[in-house]
């Protein structure tokens, strides 16, 4: 037990150290921009993860805020939801990141370095956005009901289940096929997955941009966009449905999507670490030749991984459209959510629990960076700090080696101990 704790601690220490180092180096640039690093970091984290009244790091835990009578009240910050909580927006933004990071992890764990999440996501989004109004149209035409308002309550309930399910399934299938294509090129023609997915991403983004601008364009608004999805296809956010009374969610469009993402995370964990197929694909990734000689159908395992990966990306796109955006606006395709997912997967070192945490951390930092402007600080500073944190996180091996070298110098006897630690631990 103690040993296990030590290992987990060792795993967490290096990312934390990287974050800290990123902040320290980042403060150099904050100085250059003529701002105070402490103030910038307080603002960055409060805007990202804090509640109302959050001004410094301490306020992330205990916050003091004025109530309606102008008196100061002390609250436990994570549960203090007056006027909305930063974490509610983090949940909204983290949902697609979790799903695309899972998609990336599945592919990586089959030895396929696929970064095609972006293309699969936008294609899935397009499919869901289109079916989100097309299927209800067909239903209304067939039943002669004018629109969602006019439908009977039974019909509404049925449609609320059927339409999103169909749209999401279609999006997942589209993503899976697109991802399978890259896998097929690798397995049959030995085309480098990294290159093929980059190209496939570009094609998908351009194609979706074309579809939004021309065939599916709804009106002549300044920004090209598709028609809004029907209310029956809408995955209603918590603020408007289930938890409309809970102030904590105010201002965020978090909905059932985050629950789907967490379930997906659990399923993927089970698949990778507890199922035979998952074992096969991990073997394929570890040593393809060895796996094949052991009787594992490596090609099949790799293609299966690519299918699952694509389906997850498509799901992410569908949730973004059906739950948050409700229509595809030009610019959505090129916003690069899929790439952020790859980044999250790499930073989380392919651990499932790590993905959930890192995705939330990443989403909060991004939101905090944008909102730096609410404290009259330039938003570009946030971008620099995030980039530095990522950079230092990616230098994991460098830190690990340096640390063990230092440890050797301090206590040469502990050599056997450290080499033990350096073995990557395969755990969720």
């Amino acid at each position: 037990m103690l040993k296990r704790l030590q290992i987990v601690g060792g795993h967490a220490a290096i990312p934390l150290f990287a974050v800290l180092l990123g902040l320290v180096v980042g403060s150099f640039f904050v100085f250059l921009a003529g701002a105070n690093p402490i103030q910038v970091y307080d603002q960055l984290f409060c805007e990202g993860f804090g509640s109302r009244g959050c001004e410094t790091f301490d306020d992330l835990l205990i916050v003091e805020a004025e109530n309606d009578d102008g008196e100061l009240e002390t609250h436990f910050a994570p549960f203090y939801g007056e006027r909305g909580h930063g974490m509610a927006i983090v949940l909204e933004k983290a949902t697609p990141l979790i799903l695309t990071a899972l998609a990336a992890t599945i592919a990586f764990k089959a030895g396929m370095f696929s970064i095609g999440m972006d293309g699969q996501l936008v294609l899935g989004a397009l499919m869901a956005g289109f079916l989100g109004y097309w299927i209800p149209d067909q239903i209304y035409a067939a039943t002669g009901v004018a629109d969602f308002e006019a439908a009977s309550s039974v019909m509404r309930t049925v449609m609320h289940i059927v339409v999103p399910t169909l749209a999401i399934s279609a999006a997942m299938i589209v993503g899976a096929i697109y991802s399978w294509f890259a896998g097929f090129l690798k397995v049959k023609l030995n085309v480098n997955v990294l290159i093929s997915t980059i190209i496939l991403n570009a094609i998908a983004v351009q194609f979706v941009g074309y579809m939004i601008n021309f065939p599916l364009r709804a009106d002549f608004n300044n920004i090209a966009r598709t028609r809004a999805i029907d209310d029956s296809a809408w995955l209603v956010p918590f603020t408007r449905g289930l938890f409309s009374e809970i102030e904590w969610f105010r201002g965020s469009r978090t909905g059932v999507g985050i629950i789907i993402a967490l379930i997906a995370a659990f399923v993927i964990w089970f698949y990778l670490w507890r199922s035979t197929s998952g074992y096969e694909q991990r073997m394929t990734s570890g040593s393809s030749l060895f796996a094949r000689f052991s009787g594992i159908a490596t090609e099949k395992a790799a293609l299966r991984a690519m299918l699952i990966s694509g389906a997850l990306s498509g799901l992410a796109g569908a949730i973004m459209i059906l739950g948050v955006e409700r229509r595809i606006v030009d610019g959505f395709a090129s916003s690069g959510t899929g790439f952020d997912g790859v980044l999250v997967a790499i930073l989380a070192r392919e651990s499932i629990a790590g993905i959930v945490l890192v995705a939330m951390f990443f989403a909060g930092l991004q939101q905090g960076a944008i909102n730096l402007q609410f404290g009259d600080l330039p938003r570009q500073l946030g971008g620099i700090i995030i980039a530095l944190i990522i950079l230092f996180s990616a230098m994991e091996n460098f830190f690990r080696e340096t640390m063990s070298r230092i440890r050797h110098r301090i206590a040469p006897d502990a050599m056997t101990q450290t080499s033990d630690d350096a073995v990557p631990v395969e755990s969720g």
Binding site: F29, L32, A33, E47, R52, R83, G84, I89, V205, G209, N213, D219, F220, N221, N222, I223, A224, R225, A228, G251, S252, R326, R327, V329, D330, G331, F332, A333, S334, S335, Q367, I370, N371, Q373, F374, D376, P378, R379, Q380, L381, G383, I384, L388, L391, T402
Partner: protein, 372 residues
């Protein structure tokens, strides 16, 4: 001892350089040209620190056009009216919704949005009925029936008509053109007016059109420059740019090929002296300022306001005093000689428009709800 190799030193230096450049870009935002409206010092700064507003810009600042103009208006309001203001830049459509919602969280007296999509606005104004909103450059097919939204449309077909007269009279080749951000009514409002202006003085002239489009129509100067270069190659000698920051590419192409251009939104005559003939001004800064002023004077009224040439929200850079004669000083002689005649024709047309004798097509309200 940590041993650092040469490679690692080089890597660190490269990282540091990259970061310094990025910070440099942070600083480089505020390179306002001399022609920008300066905050006049003779106005007594008022103290209205109990009035607050937040303004959401649709993209980053630095286009020397539309967005900078809006930001300038907000800055002028903060300086002259002494109100509390927060200026929020976004990096494109995908951030608009979150930025507006975050602004609402602070509960300022007024949230001003610039060119934020209709669907976002109509959803948010309903969700927060107690928050006052003012939207500039958002066109509705159906204006939501709420009492917390003030819409402000600056109609630019008439001043574009005047700019078209300048282009039509000064063109040497008889071919002029326009480069728009995208093919939609908000932009075609300019281009249609411009085209009619050109044809009114030069019926045999050809007016070419092209649109930047793509995923970032208003901040893609490279693409706009390519379009402009090919239009100049086709014989056009004056191009009207209606594309925000993308338009910088058009001006640059004009400068490189020795041709001419017409600026938009802000006064761009000084960006390339002798190349930019005149700018079709759209006073977004005044619109923003008047929004804030309405909060200070307690005259905020929900509903739609349409303004244009008559109200002084649209015009030409030549109407301005100080730096409105850049082309006279730097332009080629044969064109400068014609300028007095051009100005006379423009003054005549302006009178005609204001009196109603000349009617310029307004393509915007063929598609959208005018609020009348």
């Amino acid at each position: 001892m940590l041993k650092i190799s040469h490679k690692q030193i080089v890597l660190l230096l490269v990282i540091a350089m990259g970061a310094i450049i990025s910070v440099g870009m942070v600083h480089a935002q505020d390179d306002g040209s001399d022609c920008s409206v300066d905050v006049s010092s003779d106005v007594e700064p008022q103290d209205n620190s109990d009035v607050s507003f937040a303004i959401i810009l649709p993209n980053a600042r630095g286009d020397r056009s539309f967005i900078d103009s809006a930001a300038a208006g907000a800055e002028r309001a903060i300086a002259e009216l002494g109100v509390e203001g927060t200026i929020i830049e976004t990096a494109g459509v995908q951030e608009h919704d979150a930025a507006v919602r975050r602004a609402v969280q602070d509960e300022p007296d007024l949230v001003i949005t610039i060119a934020v999509d209709e669907s976002i606005i109509s959803e948010i104004v309903e969700e927060f009925p107690d928050q006052k909103f003012a939207a500039q450059e958002t066109f509705f097919t159906e204006i939501p029936d709420v009492d917390n939204l003030a819409l402000f449309n600056i109609l630019t077909h008439e001043n574009s008509y005047l700019a078209g007269i300048a282009a039509g009279m000064l063109s040497r080749t008889g071919i002029v053109g326009a480069v728009g951000g995208g093919d939609f009514p908000g932009i075609n409002l300019f281009i249609q007016g411009y085209e009619e202006g050109v044809l009114s003085v030069c019926p045999d002239c050809t007016v070419l059109r092209s649109y930047v489009g793509g995923s970032n129509p208003f901040s893609d100067p490279v693409r706009a420059k390519e379009l402009a270069l090919s239009m100049y190659a086709d014989g056009a000698d004056i191009l009207f740019q209606v594309a925000g920051r993308s338009g910088e590419g058009v001006l640059e192409a004009a400068n490189e090929t020795g041709n001419f251009a017409i600026g938009v939104d802000s006064n761009q005559d000084d960006t390339f002296p002798g190349t930019v003939i005149v700018s079709a001004m759209k006073r977004v800064d005044n619109a923003v300022f008047s929004f804030v002023e309405s909060m200070v004077n307690d005259t905020y009224t929900p509903g739609t306001t349409n303004v244009g040439l008559a109200e002084g929200f649209a015009g030409l850079s030549w109407d301005d005093g100080i730096c409105s004669r850049t082309f006279d000083e730097n332009g080629p002689e044969d064109l400068v000689e014609k300028l007095p005649a051009v100005r006379e024709a423009i003054a005549e047309a302006r009178e005609g428009i204001l009196s109603g004798d000349i009617v310029v097509t307004n393509v915007l309200f063929e598609e959208f709800d005018s609020g009348d």
